[in-house]
Structures are given as structure tokens and as C-alpha cells.
Symmetry: C2
Subunit: 340 residues, 2 copies
């Protein structure tokens, strides 16, 4: 076993931070450590928290940490929001920021630069979650800002995803992204002492009630489900949605109001996802997605390494119009498979 | 040669529309047609037009079409904006919408559902551009809304990318996405008769002047350039940026003001990209990117087809924790390469 893996399993903070940096920098050692840690993962509850800037998402996360700490749970936080107060230094890469939990060694907060596209960010988030899980976190909070495809992908690494909203943000329910709706396992209407909170709750209720139709339409528009539609999984998706109705909880994170109620609802979802057949099916589907993504990256990495100059030659041939890009790609796939 | 390809090269509208539907539906025939058409492409000027909702981007596109038609140029339009008036029916997939150019057979407008992720949309856009190019379009306008990574990727299929802004939209220059800044070859400040237009122009000028530093910082933040930084291409990227300074043109699309001036600037960029060494280098880099993306997709498609049940078995092994996902992926790559 890699020495870092051993030390992480003993709960050593320095080793954990070091492994996370290896993941960030995509060092080969990272994979070795992750392989060693994997059998020791799966114990933590991964809680995704997402919401638009201004929803008070970070304050809410702070309250959640506080709540879990009172229950004596160890908490890991991965903050993938460049505007988050933890992550003021996220652009610098490998800083570990603490807020008022800084002196509490039951809390490990890690900020992540929003680097990489094409699934790179969700892959890193997943690996960091596994390190915190192996390190001994009972709960891992993955905080992302609710914009962009990348951020939505990250919520798929969580068991339970909480979408935080606030009244009067201009992002009323109609404006909320279809994708954000689709990934929500629970809604917090934060700043519920403000005007418009009840209207936001009603709008959300209506949206959830409209349920399946909206989901299918939204899925079609985003195209996400267009392919799966062909084999009928949209039907399944909409059916399985009806098995879990996202609860809506009003809270005022700044004053700590509604937090206990919110956690109760989130825990109900956690029980659903871990104990029911539908929850198991969802975890299976997400694992399959993960493996497919990882395979995609591994293949292109291996092909790039293996084909080297052949790729450059192909680009030149297409440029000179002596070969079309479609045939050139087929050539490269064949070459990759026939050489070692 | 595929019969559709022959008919497209004769400029037949029905065949062109049919081929586009094949691309949308990812039919195997699409690739055959695209292979046949490829040697006949490369004549059209591909003009990307992007901007946030409310910038008047669609009205501006309408004026650009009008302008090019007066020059007797054949115009193709690919509208990847679900809110665009062309594409009211984009969600329905394969509708061809015409606005007031409907009766003009020198204009071919195609709306595209924003389907697919992980580069699927930009691949489709690129293929559709090639069909319109082979069909005989002198200019192909690719209209996208300036949100999200997918949309930004699409701008990379264009020779020249125009970013449309409008004063008083709340999306002032500071708020503009770094990615959007980075892809801009020219800026139109539309609705220039409104208050705040000059301020928007000044802000843009400052942003462009700050130039390289901003680009590098933005690149780092978006992570886009983090990898390339290691081999020094960020340096190159910032240097090549100084070779082309994006012009800023004020216009009022609704009244047709400033359109001629805008087109003049856009044409200067087209000349730069097609005749200078730096322009050629950029086209080469983008072609290399395209091939890498296509290869990535072709590899995962071939692996999925080839490995079939082995992937499901791997997912189950990871689920049972008898194998970690990193080793399982390595196994699959090895298996793919050793079987035919």
C-alpha cells in the first residue's frame, strides 16, 4: 500500500491534503493512492449543495457543518465555487482554507479551482470525495455554484443534492435552469424571512407537481435524455422521479433557523438512496456513468500517448484535404487498436 | 459518391435539409455524406455570432443576412439558440425555420436543438457548417447564446467570432464571462442609441488593453490553459492575441445602423485569419482540437460496441468493491486493444 494511503486511513490531515494535491495535479501517484483507498470508501454521506450566487449557499453550508459537528460527525467540504469565501484562493490551486471551523480538526475544507472541462472537474471532485471518505469523514459536502454544465455534473457525484434558493434574487423558479431542477433531491428556500419566500415555495411546489412532464420536456430541450429516450429510459427516469418527491424547507441560514428541519429531510433522502431498490438503481446508473467517463478519458490518453506523431500527420492530411476528418479518425482508431 | 452528396453539391435544398437531419439523428449515412462532401468544403466564411439574451443578437443576424444578400452572397444560418426566433421549434428537432428571408432561396436557415453534451453540440455544428459550405453558402452564420461551455465550444468552429453586447443589460463588461472575452474576434455594442453605450465601449477597450494579463489570469481560472501552461503555450496564446486586436463597433441593429462598418471589421478579421501565418496557425490548432475531440468520441463508441457486457461486469465489480474503478478502467482499455 502506498504510504500516503496508509496515513490517510489513519486520518492524518497532512497526508490527506498531500493526496488531494496529487489529484489536482494529475500526478501518476494519485491513481495508486486512489486504488489503495477505494476498498475503504463508501462510508461517507456525500451531500451536494448548489445554488446561484446570492442564495446564501455558503452560509447554509456553514450551518450544516455546525449541525453535523454537534452530532460529533466528522465533516469534509469540497468547495468548487470560485466565489465561495472558503475558496478565495482557489485560483491559486492548492490552498486549504478554513473559516471559523479552522481550529476544529473534525472539519476538513478543501477548495478546488474550476479547472478543466469535458468532465475533468467532476472526475477530480469524485476523487477528492473518495479521499475525504477514506480519511474518515462521516459527511462530505460538495459545494458548487449552480451555473454551467460542469457544476451540474458534479452534483451527480453526491448521494443527496440540495438546491438552495432565495426569494427576490431575480432567479425565480421559472428562470431556474431545467438542469438544476432535475438534479434536486431537496430545496432550501433560504432567507425565508424576506418577502416573496412563500411565493417561491408555491412556485417550487407547482414545478414539482408538474413533475414528470416538465422533466421530460426539460430533458429533451437539454438533449440530455434524447439518446436514452430511444431505449425508453426517459420513461424510467420520470417514473423513478415519482418515487422521491423533493421536499422544500424554508430556512434563515444567517440565524440558524430551519437547519435541523432541513437536515431531517436530507437524511430521509439519504435513507431512500441507500436502502430502497430505486435508490440502489440510481447509484448503479451513476457508477456506470462514471466508468464510462473514466474510460473515455483513459482511451484518449492512451491513444495520444500511443499514436503520437500519427495524430499530427492526420491533422496535416485533413488540412491539405488529402484525407477527410471522418476517415482520418477511423484510421487512428484502427491504428491504436492494432499497435502496442 | 452518396446520392445526397451529389445533390447537395448541385445546391439542392431538399438534399441539404435531408443530410442535416441525418447528422442530427447521428445516422451512419451522415458520415458517408460528410466524407464525400469534405473535399468540396472550405470555401465558406464561417461567422460565429454570440451574445447574451437581450443583446439583440438575432436582430443583428437578420441585418447581417440582409447585408450579405445585397452583395449577392448565399447565406447559411445555424441557430443554436433555443430562444432565437428562428428556432422556436428547435425542441422539435428537425424544423427549418425561415423569418422574412423565407422566400429567399439564397438563405438557408437551420435551427439546432441544444442536445448532447461533452462536445456533441460543437461536433454537430461543425458538420452542419460543412454541409452548408458544400451546398454553396458563401457565408455561414453560426448563432449561439453566450452562456455555457457548450456554446463557447461552438464559437471555435468559426473563422470569425462576433460577440454582441448591449448597454444596460446588467451584464456589464466586468460580468462578461472570461470565456466569452477569450473567443471574441470583434465586439458589437448594439442598441448604441441607449444610455451607457459609450461606457460599455470604454470598458471593453480597457479590457482589451489589459489584454494578455487578463487572458492568462482568466485562462488559469477557467483552467482551460492550465495544462498548456506547462509547455509554454499560454505564453504563445497571449502573444498571438496581440497580433489581432478585437475591434469594437457601435450599432443599432433595429434601424440597420452601423452594420456596414461592422461587416468591414469582420471582413478584416477574415482576411487576417485566412492570409496571415498567425491566422493559419490558429486554424491548424483548431483542426487539431477537432480531430482530438472526434477521436475521443470514436474511441468510446468503438469501445462500447466492442466491450459490451465487459463494461457492465466492470460496473458490478466496482459496485461489489471487488475491483476499484481505476484498475477496472485500465482493464477495459487493455481488453479493447487486444480484441478485434
Amino acid at each position: 500500500m502506498h504510504h500516503l494511503a496508509e496515513r490517510i486511513l489513519k486520518g492524518e490531515v497532512r497526508a490527506t491534503a498531500r493526496a488531494m494535491r496529487l489529484v489536482d495535479d494529475r500526478m501518476p501517484d494519485a491513481t495508486t493512492v486512489l486504488k489503495d483507498l477505494f476498498p475503504h470508501t463508501g462510508k461517507a454521506w456525500v451531500l451536494g449543495v448548489t445554488g446561484n450566487p446570492g442564495s446564501g449557499k455558503s452560509t447554509l453550508c456553514d450551518r450544516l457543518i455546525e449541525h453535523f459537528r454537534k452530532q460529533n460527525k466528522r465533516v469534509g467540504v469540497i468547495a468548487v465555487d470560485p466565489s465561495s469565501p472558503y475558496s478565495g484562493g482557489a485560483i491559486l490551486g492548492d490552498r486549504i482554507r478554513m473559516t471559523r471551523h479552522a481550529t476544529d480538526d473534525g472539519v476538513f475544507i478543501r477548495s478546488v479551482a474550476t479547472r478543466g472541462h469535458l468532465g475533468g472537474l467532476s472526475r477530480s471532485a469524485r476523487d477528492l470525495v473518495r479521499i475525504l471518505d477514506a480519511h474518515g469523514s462521516d459527511v462530505v459536502i460538495v459545494e458548487t455554484v449552480g451555473v454551467g454544465q460542469d457544476e451540474l455534473e458534479i452534483t451527480r457525484t453526491a448521494h443527496t443534492t440540495l438546491v438552495v434558493m432565495a426569494p427576490g434574487l431575480g432567479d425565480d423558479v421559472q428562470a431556474i435552469k431545467a438542469g438544476l431542477m432535475e438534479c434536486a433531491d431537496a430545496f432550501a428556500v433560504n432567507k425565508a424571512d424576506r418577502e416573496g419566500a412563500d411565493a417561491t415555495v408555491r412556485d417550487l411546489q407547482l414545478m414539482i407537481a408538474l413533475g414528470s412532464e416538465t422533466m421530460i420536456a426539460a430533458g429533451k430541450q437539454r438533449g440530455h435524455a434524447v439518446h436514452s429516450e430511444q431505449d425508453g429510459t426517459v420513461e424510467n427516469a420520470s417514473r423513478s422521479r415519482t418515487m422521491w418527491t423533493p421536499p422544500i424547507v424554508k430556512c434563515v441560514a444567517l440565524r440558524g433557523e430551519g437547519i435541523a428541519e432541513l437536515v431531517t429531510e436530507l437524511e430521509k433522502h439519504h435513507a431512500w438512496v441507500t436502502t430502497t431498490e430505486e435508490g440502489r438503481a440510481r447509484r448503479h446508473a451513476r457508477l456506470a456513468e462514471e466508468l464510462r467517463e473514466t474510460l473515455r478519458e483513459a482511451l484518449i490518453d492512451a491513444a495520444t500517448e500511443n499514436l503520437g506523431p500519427a495524430i499530427d500527420e492526420a491533422v496535416r492530411a485533413v488540412e491539405d484535404k488529402t484525407r477527410d476528418p471522418y476517415s482520418a479518425t477511423e484510421d487512428l482508431v484502427a491504428k491504436f487498436r492494432s499497435t502496442k
